[in-house]
């Protein structure tokens, strides 16, 4: 077979894709109308499970660009058993993450010893003003609902 000139081959490629798009539709997604589901592990936004947080500041200290702001105070909680002593617990007054600074590295989620921080694949939280990207603990708590179950692992994963 004689060699097809590259110029014609190139025209063939574009015409082929044209035909494929006409037949099967485009590979793109019309964003606001239809959405692609991000993977389960996608690092979209950090959600806070407030009850688990003890204001230990580990996440705040391990953050590479120091975008987590925590304030807390100690308070007495009712005893676990009847007749016991009241427990001393840390209560957070403020837990803010500045998403304008956050680099989505995930170190805070990883270091949290009490399972208070989670990744959620939620991604539609852009703001017109950069200052509005500082989200407080209430907003972070609302994102807890979007946190998926951790995925099953691939075969051969050992502990």
């Amino acid at each position: 077979m004689p060699k097809v000139p590259g110029l014609l081959k190139g025209l063939g490629v574009t015409a082929g894709i044209l035909g494929k798009t006409l037949k099967n539709g485009a590979d793109t997604v019309q964003y606001p109308h239809e959405k692609e589901a991000p993977p389960v592990r996608a690092r979209g936004v950090i959600a806070l499970h407030e009850d688990n947080c003890t204001a230990c500041m580990l996440c705040s200290r391990s953050c590479p660009d120091w975008c987590i702001y925590i304030e807390g105070h100690k308070q007495l909680a009712p005893p676990r058993r009847a007749g016991g002593k009241p427990r001393q617990v840390n209560h957070i007054d403020r837990f803010d993450i500045d998403y304008a600074l956050c680099m989505y590295c995930g170190i805070c989620v990883e270091v949290c010893p009490f399972d208070a921080l989670f990744w959620s694949p939620e991604y539609e939280y852009s703001e017109p003003k950069i200052a509005d990207l500082l989200h407080d603990k209430q907003k972070l708590g609302e994102w807890m609902e979007t946190v998926p179950e951790a995925p099953e692992l691939e075969v051969g994963a050992g502990k």
Binding site: L11, V13, T14, K20, T21, Q30
Partner: protein, 360 residues
């Protein structure tokens, strides 16, 4: 059968007495339609849709049904933008340049016939005029490149000057074959010859010159591609290199004018190519039993433009297809291609046509 059908039509040429002022208005409106409609159609069909589909995406979808109003939205956006001129620019001619480029498009469309009587003007040396006027745009581009006071624009303008002049020659020489074969420079006469002619006794498709002048047609289309500065001949614009060349500094509605001129000129060249090589507005006259252009039914004045638009879109479609598939030449390769390949080929084609014309 078609001939019968045509004969049954009431044989009256409407003897309209159109007053002069109405005629003038009709001509202005017709001119605007003949320039802007192809431009809009080409941008929407090819630039927005065909290109997107070739890249496996949908293109604009939000403005209007299937994004058909996108161009209007873009025009609205451009009109709102500030009309900027660089500090060192030669402001008066800087502002004039896009208008000159657009003017050449309007001048070109003047001679294009859209039907037996549907033309703006019909003079004997129509094709000569068209080729002469086509080079007015070079002037506008050179002016734009020089007066922008920008090095990229200057390079782009000079490249455009060199390129457009180099490719004018093969274009003229390719047309020469058609003119020899038709024996006339009048565009309507060229159409008549194509639609009444026959090839080796087979007359039912007429004699579109694309068959007998195939080499001329190829050369003409390549030259048109270069005249329109479409890829692979888009050295003067070269947005990844000269940052749009001579258009770099333009913004707002002056950029819009350049943009319209680019695609309107594509449309007009499509018209001219379809006149020269594909039989223009006509269908083979034998289908309806017409002897010559004076027999053509009056309704061809309305059907003719549609036929012209179809042929033009087909030709421009090929131009755009090539544009979306190929990378661009380098400036020196482009000149070499014009002077060492196209021009000798076109000369040989002309000579061969002349000899065959005498022999047969």
């Amino acid at each position: 059968m078609l001939a019968q059908l045509a004969a049954e039509f009431p044989d009256w040429y409407p003897e309209w007495n159109i007053p002069y002022w109405l005629m003038s208005i009709l001509r202005v409106v017709g001119g605007l339609v003949a320039v802007l409609l192809p431009a809009g159609g080409i941008v929407y069909i090819f630039l927005f849709k065909m290109m997107s589909f070739m890249q496996s995406r949908l293109g604009p979808m939000e403005a209007g049904p299937y994004g058909s109003m996108q161009l209007l939205a873009e025009v609205g956006k451009w009109m709102q933008k500030e009309d900027l001129a660089p500090d060192n620019a030669d402001v008066r001619i800087y502002k004039m340049a896009p208008l000159i480029v657009l003017l050449s498009t309007f001048l070109l469309v003047v001679v294009v016939p859209f039907g037996p009587q549907a033309y703006f003007t019909n003079f004997e040396t129509g094709i000569f005029y068209a080729l002469a006027v086509a080079s007015v745009s070079v002037l506008g581009i050179l002016i734009a490149g020089w007066s922008s006071a920008n090095k990229y624009s200057l390079l782009g303008g000079l490249r455009a000057g060199g390129q457009l002049i180099a490719y004018e020659l093969p274009m003229v020489l390719a047309t020469l074959g058609v003119v020899i074969q038709a024996g006339s420079m009048n565009l309507n006469r060229i159409i008549e010859v194509q639609n009444t002619g026959e090839i080796f006794g087979i007359g039912w498709i007429g004699n579109p010159f694309v068959i007998t002048q195939f080499i001329g047609f190829l050369i003409f289309m390549i030259a048109v591609q270069a005249e329109l500065t479409q890829s692979p001949f888009d050295m003067p614009i070269a947005e990844s290199e000269l940052v749009s060349g001579y258009m770099t500094e333009y913004s707002g509605f002056r950029f819009l004018i350049f943009f319209i001129a680019e695609f309107a000129t594509a449309g007009v060249f499509g018209f001219i190519a379809s006149v020269l090589f594909l039989g223009g507005w006509g269908v083979p006259f034998t289908w309806f039993g017409w002897e010559g252009i004076s027999d053509v039914a009056w309704w061809m004045n309305f059907v003719g433009p549609l036929i012209m638009f179809t042929k033009m879109f087909a030709l421009v479609g090929v131009i755009m297809w090539v544009r979306f598939s190929y990378p661009r030449f380098r400036e020196d390769q482009l000149q070499t291609f014009a002077w060492k390949v196209l021009i000798p080929l076109a000369l040989a084609n002309t000579a061969a046509t002349a000899i065959l014309k005498v022999v047969f």
